[in-house]
Symmetry: D2
Subunit: 116 residues, 4 copies
Amino acid sequence: MPDTLITSLQQAQRDFARERDWEQFHTPKNLAMALTVEAAELQEIFQWLRPDESAALTSAQRQHLGEELADVLLYLCRLADVCAVDLASAAWDKLRKNAEKYPADKVRGSARRHDG
Amino acid sequence: MPDTLITSLQQAQRDFARERDWEQFHTPKNLAMALTVEAAELQEIFQWLRPDESAALTSAQRQHLGEELADVLLYLCRLADVCAVDLASAAWDKLRKNAEKYPADKVRGSARRHDG
Amino acid sequence: MPDTLITSLQQAQRDFARERDWEQFHTPKNLAMALTVEAAELQEIFQWLRPDESAALTSAQRQHLGEELADVLLYLCRLADVCAVDLASAAWDKLRKNAEKYPADKVRGSARRHDG
Amino acid sequence: MPDTLITSLQQAQRDFARERDWEQFHTPKNLAMALTVEAAELQEIFQWLRPDESAALTSAQRQHLGEELADVLLYLCRLADVCAVDLASAAWDKLRKNAEKYPADKVRGSARRHDG
């Protein structure tokens, strides 16, 4: 199926970086660092919450979460673009691999064999 | 524009988790942790590479990168789904905010004012 | 008080890196990346555990945890050494700051005002 | 050799947490999350810096770095304490293992075989 979102975001990001002369900073290494930093900022929202609290976010927390999720997605798209990786294909391939690696009848309900 | 990729991935992930009785593990807190772990695994590819090396990956490194990018995207989609966050809207909102926060004529070429 | 552990570890790490000609890889940037990667590997141990499970580790999990804690400590010491930061002073300074920032009678029992 | 720093920090942190009734938040899982978040904040200092810039920090950047290093060390000590892991022994054990895993004459100058 056509992936209009990711390619559109990537095009917008290319323009954004070029207009600011920021392409020089967008090495794969730097973008990978930025991605992890954003993931950690997202994680920070949940850091001190109990599991039940993490599943019942306030409106302000959900707004904050949305922004952090967006930051992660944006760096992910940019990194994939800079490295010429097809994110959509990679995701479907990985889902298929996970289905083979974790047969439902073997891992049902078990966190120990859980990896995704 | 319609986002067929993310919603399709999320549907596939819902089925995947339900078939394995893994929904119990997919609290937002746990998924946020998993997202950071995958981002760090991705980052590890670039850890000891010089900037120029990070921009000239071998075929094996690109294959590995694709799998790690996929892992991040999958947890990102799952977390957004579990928290009922519209990832596409959040991303476009964030791009707009970044454009306002970093006017091209003020930040051109400057990493110090750079945040995305 | 004298800090014999950290300075001893740092001396051993200096020798280790020099003997392998790895000083070239130990830029502060690379070491900071390695530190985060090790922290994420440590975090992965707890990723799918419930809070009560995370407080009752098996012997194998504690052994694994010890190795990951060691990895984090080692990169922390190496990074501080390479950047000439006095880790012991920095830690005591931070404890003092935290005590001022979070007066016991104002934050008692509250995760919201919790930051350390 | 006696490790006075880590045990002293751990004692101070135990008092700190008890006085604020924060022991309830200091599950190993939460502390591991906090550790990664602090490592990522530290990493953020270096995110957009070139390798040479990362090795020539300004005074303000070094001050900032010291605080982030301290945050990581404090959570590391607290987590080890809560899980009853002897951090000093674990660090020396790991150094010994690394010396065996990476014989100087086999890995000299090679980042590919580099892991610590």
